[in-house]
Symmetry: C2
Subunit: 211 residues, 2 copies
Amino acid sequence: MKHLTTTDIAQMEQRSRARLINSLSGFKSANLIGSQDDKGCTNLSIVSSVFHLGANPALMGMIIRPDGVPRDTLSNIKQTGSYTINHVSSDIYCKAHQTSARYDANVSEFGEVGLTEEYVEGVIAPFVQESQLKFSLEVREITQLMVNNTIMVIGEIKHIIVDELGMNPDGYIDIEALDTVTISGLDSYHQTKRLARLSYAKPGKELDKLP
Amino acid sequence: MKHLTTTDIAQMEQRSRARLINSLSGFKSANLIGSQDDKGCTNLSIVSSVFHLGANPALMGMIIRPDGVPRDTLSNIKQTGSYTINHVSSDIYCKAHQTSARYDANVSEFGEVGLTEEYVEGVIAPFVQESQLKFSLEVREITQLMVNNTIMVIGEIKHIIVDELGMNPDGYIDIEALDTVTISGLDSYHQTKRLARLSYAKPGKELDKLP
């Protein structure tokens, strides 16, 4: 086993350190954030930082770097209060990754990478038509984290659109059946293979594998 | 495609809604949090809410529910300022899941589920010996999120211990080669199969698949 200390980390070349530290959290979600500004210019950006915050109310968080590429996304969310989160499948992962290029603010990534805008009545932000699981949010809170000036955006889920193929009677959505991919590090995309769903754990009780 | 609205979500039975909403963020990281209180009683709890916050300084966030199972973890982190994050592999995912049972505060999950404490000089919190990628943190910030009273814990990475098999010359750690698993929903565990690592995206430039 290799043992790296704070000094080793500090002395690494900047890009290598970014690749290393971005690998540590484990597998990450792969989502496209859809938004538009108040003039109607749409934006689409891949993020790997979406995380679950709570089910009731249904809240989702994401982290945006103040100097990072999805800065148009943040600006649009501030303008309209609306955004969508769209799962990335293996069919579209290269197009999704391409949205991380630094396009000008007045250029829509939808057109540039070849993905299709889709609209739902009452939602300003565009969905990704090609996505098999997607939902819209209304922003609830935008906070700058003092430790390193990153921005945390928290939204409440309003509309969920999901391929019925993934819906399980107990509420679980089988995102593997929907071919949602996962990200490791800054640039690696992965499909998944289920080991099992496990039963609710109790002290002194054997776990069951759910059917 | 199925379309669910706020009303549909509100009317769902509570556990079904939790399963549904927990499926939406996409694949999640699978980590064991190691800690101990100031009397030396150790604790281990699985979390799927660890997320990357920044590489320099190397910062990691995680979300803890105030009434959730890892409340001993939060109490220990407040007491000692120290915790470890340990990747879960397919060898130990059932033991890792079992740590989510509600054991008493004076019972160590290490012994109950059959995982081994490992210590590094200068770090109070125990690592998981069986884990192939693990790191220690010193707490930097504990914040209660006003939207739903969940707790965000932010720590700075101090020691990284990683199987050299996973280390790539460019800094990336191949967590798939280390057999790190990923979680979907509340209870589903998955191995991964790489599609590709993709090159840094630039406008008007074709993506390359990295070797």
